[in-house]
């Protein structure tokens, strides 16, 4: 049962990330692309993090995975905002 949950979470996370990659390619403007970049730091990483936690629990490996995903989740919007500001400056 635990393996099935892990597989489903991994499939969801990988699918979300690949959809974000496709979105970055398909979209035409920088701001639309940044929308997909931001989504790539939230949905997919959380699914993969939960998969790791289901497998490993809250041991050393699990805490390291939490730290990595938390960095992505918390720092992602800052970088996206800075990039959007830079895009706005270059479009003027």
């Amino acid at each position: 049962m635990r393996n099935v949950v892990v597989d489903i979470l991994l499939a969801a996370g990988v699918t979300a990330e690949l959809l974000c990659c496709v979105g970055v390619v398909v979209m035409r403007t920088t701001f639309d692309r940044l929308h997909y970049t931001a989504a790539g730091t939230t949905v997919g990483p959380f699914c993969i993090l939960v998969a790791v936690l289901v497998r490993e629990g809250f041991g050393e490996a699990g805490l390291d995975a939490i730290a990595a995903v938390a960095l992505l989740f918390l720092a992602g919007p800052l970088v996206i905002h800075a990039t959007a500001r830079a895009a706005r400056t270059t479009e003027r």
């Binding site: 996370g13 974000c20 920088t30 490993e56 390291d64 400056t89 270059t90």
Partner: protein
């Protein structure tokens, strides 16, 4: 090959379209693609660490996430200069 290794392999495929954007589109679009590539790289490292059952390798993913953050800010800063 277990599920985490297969996931890492599938995630690696995402670098191809992002590389295309980085090569063909404007520089600022390349930065957007680079930021997503950094998140992908972090997830690949997490999946590989779990897939190979090496707990110490999770630290590499933490460093990758931090480097992604810093590099994104640096690129945004320099591309946003008037």
């Amino acid at each position: 090959m277990n599920a985490f290794e297969a996931s890492a392999l599938a995630l690696l495929a995402g670098f191809v379209p992002l590389g295309w954007v980085g090569l063909r589109e404007r520089a600022i679009d390349g930065v957007a693609a680079l930021e997503l590539a950094g998140a992908l790289a972090t997830l690949v490292l997490i999946c590989l660490a779990e897939g190979y059952h090496r707990g110490i390798y999770f630290s590499v993913a933490v460093v990758c996430a931090a480097a992604t953050w810093i590099s994104g800010l640096v690129f945004a800063r320099f591309l946003g200069r008037p």
